[in-house]
Symmetry: D2
Subunit: 137 residues, 4 copies
């Protein structure tokens, strides 16, 4: 089911497509995306823009928290940036469910470049009661 939901989300997720994100893996409560940093992802100092880094993490978070087909929106997130990334870097973002109550969820995303951790992200989500991502499943 997680894959069907992910495919439906991905088809319309123009923001993630525009950044060149790639879905590598998705399952119940988790998801992993990768991206290669391009010059147009960088800020005025030539390092990966913090917002683009957050977008990578937020996409992994969204696919993880919607993986069981209960329509879920992010209410917010925190990101701690440990290292700068640069054009050419290959990044991976792995999202895992830390808590999923009836409505509220908490998901951690770790962004890595090879063995280095680039950032830790923590997302908060809220399910819309009775709403599904894909109606027919």
């Amino acid at each position: 089911m997680a894959r069907q939901v992910a495919d439906a989300m991905w088809a319309k997720d123009l923001a993630s497509q525009a950044l060149g994100l790639q879905l590598q893996q998705v399952g119940q409560g988790h998801a992993r995306f990768t991206m290669t940093v391009r010059p147009e992802h960088c800020n005025g100092f030539g390092v990966l823009h913090g917002g683009v880094l957050a977008t990578l993490a937020d996409t992994a978070f969204a696919f993880a928290c919607n993986s069981s087909n209960a329509l879920t929106l992010a209410t917010g997130f925190d990101i701690d940036i440990l290292r700068s990334a640069h054009a050419g870097d290959a990044l991976s973002a792995r999202a895992d469910c830390r808590h999923q109550g009836g409505q509220n969820g908490l998901y951690d995303v770790t962004i890595t470049r090879g063995e280095d951790t680039i950032a830790h992200f923590r997302g908060r989500s809220q399910r819309l009661k009775g709403r599904k991502v894909v109606e027919e499943i």
Copy 2:
């Protein structure tokens, strides 16, 4: 000086340019950017991607915390999303300094759509000792 620094940052900030952000105002410790939400800023649910929203805020934050020409990087931020935005919405992000010590800074960004607040963002920054954004000023 804030304007000179902002112009230098903007010239190289390909990520902010790609999203169509527009610098409206910058001064000592504050900055304001606007953007009009486009379909390619939206996620799989047809609402503005949280990461793109964070990018708008993060850019305003970056221009505010570098406004006195001391080279400053974000170490992280939090965002709380209060309302969804959609394609066609005109958004404004206003960043203001809450604290600037010798090295550590705290900046609040409020994102609005007309009279509605869309999100509150709080950024943490750290200055690189002895480094300037623009060397000659």
Copy 3:
């Protein structure tokens, strides 16, 4: 009404009483508490324990977000500590509503010592549907 709710909360709030907090003001969406730092509020470095500082802010937050008598719990908070406080310092924590939707709320608390800001706190709250703090009002 805010005062009646506050009085009912205060009567049972043994944790806030034990720390010597004092309610100075409460109204629709806001509250202000003060405390004088005592040696037993301090940590192993002789500075005010971050958790005690957070308790002061969290109490102000709780009284602000319950001020309209809709039973409300904190789902979490962030605190940024700008300056250390010490035994003998007189602190004030002012909580203000930033957003209150049907269920979710966002409140900012600023902790000051005279003209210095000691910390910024941001609390997230959630109302329990149909529940009141004080049944008879």
Copy 4:
């Protein structure tokens, strides 16, 4: 060395002593404390005060981030509260280093009651250059 540092911190940590915290384990980059919730730890709704919960986590964080004897202060933290705790509950807070650069650190603390997770806490720390917790080691 972690144990010597912890003993020196504990001897003066009146706030943690007053709450009845107990150090169970400490080592390079980690620490674990326990507490039994008492009525005087609870708020006006009869549940464990969020600030007291944060104090438990913040103490574990402080002992973990100072464990290598480099004097380190918290610059802030986030807490997400997943479940309420009540008088009589036995809680455990385990702090682990997620990142320790030359100066900045990031530590995660998980608070549990038996098999249930009560809260996730993320602390940010900063080392004071050249300062030790215990001078003679």
